[in-house]
């Protein structure tokens, strides 16, 4: 069976006075059906631009310069505006980081859900849409959905609003849900509820999820597959078990080292020195080498390709597998 979504060589650039600057630079990813792909990385690594590129919603002056985004074999990048509009919300839906601002403050939430439905089903009657919207609110476990239907966003808590956003996103039964930091703005307890909800809805509907986050805990809990992004490229790609069990890219190691843990007695967290280089000032060779503790001379020369270390486990590092690299380092 073909994967639901296949991204091939995606490159998203922003026009500037000094030529095009790539925010996403040659990314290959696959999202299997009914599974969750986690995309992890620091701020500015291009993960949000990747999701907007899939939706073809990259804000100008940005544009997708190269690559293919195949949804069930159909390249989204070649669709007409009208066809793409039918895909958005209909087949690929998206939820955003800020539930507080992702709802229009002047309309009751019920109207906003029915509007989302109407965009893909213009002939449905108002009463039918209302029933469907209330059912959608019920599905995301909002209590007293019929009463909430007429409430305004400011009357709801952040967790409730994110539930409303999910109800809107799932209103037209999409095959793929892109969740861009869906729980970052929420309390930890609410965060767990929302993640539970997403997982249950995935089981109910069989949709695939792309979960974009910088929170490795969320990824470990939710994702089947994980892609670690660094400076617009995929640094490492593996199943969640492999990635957390035997991380191969030094950047992944660094990310894991910077998570506080209860089961180990450590004096300090291992932090990755420095910051993600801005896309207009990328270093020569491997983009991570200035921050990499394992960097050698060769790392400054050429960009390492994303290669399989084991079957299904890919890393873009010439020193991988890391075990041997650690031994080599004095």
């Amino acid at each position: 069976m073909t994967p639901l979504l296949e991204i091939q060589g995606l490159r998203t650039v922003f026009r500037s006075a000094n030529g095009d600057i790539a925010a996403v630079d040659g990314v290959d990813l696959t999202v299997p059906r009914g599974r969750t792909l986690g995309i992890v990385g620091e701020s500015g690594c291009g993960k949000s631009m990747l999701s907007l590129s899939v939706m073809r919603l990259v804000p100008p002056p940005g544009r997708v310069a190269a690559g293919r985004v195949l949804l069930e074999g159909r390249d989204l990048l070649t669709l007409s505006t009208a066809e793409m509009r039918a895909v958005r919300g209909g087949q690929v839906a998206m939820i955003f980081q800020e539930p507080m601002t992702s709802l229009n403050p002047v309309h009751p939430i019920g109207l906003q859900i029915t509007e989302a439905m109407r965009a893909h089903d213009p002939r449905a009657s108002a009463a039918e849409l209302r029933d469907r919207a209330i059912a959608a609110l019920e599905r995301v476990r909002i209590p007293a959905p019929a009463r909430r239907y007429d409430e305004f966003p400011h009357q709801l808590s952040g967790g409730m609003r994110q539930r409303v956003m999910i109800a809107m996103a799932l209103a037209c039964k999409p095959k793929l849900l892109i969740a861009d930091e869906p729980t970052t703005a929420l309390d930890v307890t609410v965060q767990a509820q929302i993640l539970d909800l997403l997982r249950d809805l995935q089981q109910e509907t069989g949709m695939s999820i792309i979960l974009i986050t910088h929170d490795l805990g969320v990824v470990a809990e939710m994702a089947d597959e994980v892609a670690v992004m660094y400076a617009g490229r995929v640094a490492e790609r593996a199943s969640a078990r492999d990635l957390f069990g035997s991380p191969q890219h030094p950047y992944t190691l660094g990310l894991l080292g910077s998570v506080p843990r209860l089961d180990e007695d450590r004096e300090r967290l291992l932090a990755i020195e420095g910051a993600v280089p801005p896309p207009f000032a990328l270093p020569q060779g491997c983009r991570f080498h200035p921050r990499c503790p394992f960097a050698i001379e060769a790392c400054t020369k050429a960009q390492p390709p994303l290669e399989a270390i084991e079957p299904g486990h890919l890393a873009a590092c010439i020193r991988a597998p890391v075990e041997s690299a650690v031994e080599l380092t004095p």
């Binding site: 919603l57 958005r88 955003f96 403050p105 309309h107 509007e115 305004f152 996103a169």
Partner: protein, 283 residues
Amino acid sequence: MSGVQPPARPSTLRVLLREPAAAVSAALVAITVLAALLAPWLAPYDPYETDLMAIMQPPGGAYLLGTDGQGRDMLSRLLYGLRVTLTMGALSLGFGGVLGVLIGFCAAYYRRVDGLLMRLADIMLSFPAILFGLAIAAIAGPGVTAVVIALSVATVPLMARIARSTALVVLGLDYIEAARAQGMGDARLIWRHLMPNCLSPILVFATLRFGQVILLGSALSFLGLGAQAPIAELGAMAAQGRTFLFFAPHISVIPSVAIFVIVLAFNVLGDALRDALDPRLRV
């Protein structure tokens, strides 16, 4: 998440009228509009009937607000004058405002035409409204139509700029992106999400502009480019009374005060309306 009922949302009207100044202004606006609408029934005399035996009568007596230089009843002329002035203002604001909002939204939404549209607006803004009035009166002949055209044209670039700048802010908000991600079409997105969230500044500006338009229309009439004698129009009436300012000040003062009150009432009302329409202030 218990069964506690959230407090019922008060209606816009109720929020609006909670403010005393707004309530007074709303009453004044309502009275003015009603008076203009009901002028044929309210006016005690024919506004164009002259009584040369009773010219420049002071207020009081048989003529409640006195008479003008030709012995016409001031109260009747005021009521009919309100009709002309308000209609003139409303038409100018309606045509100019709608066109301006459309242009402003287009400029904000379709960034490709933004530069062109806004430079055109700049060019239009560099002409004073009075100059438009002169030019159009020269082409079409002076009259109420010329004033409406001139003031509509003068309102378009101002409204376009307000609408554009407001729309640019709103278009940058998350819910616009969320609506796009739901596959909403341009027209629907503009109508459902952009328009309602741009309404407050547009309404406030429209109210202020209504005052300005009435003042400008009166000025054009005053200069003889607008309403022509014997048509009763507040600006023209003020102009006619100017000659008698020392003997019979009421002929100029009454229409001027009427203009002042209308402009003030609309300004206060618009301001209060903005507060009332903002759902974030509804608690």
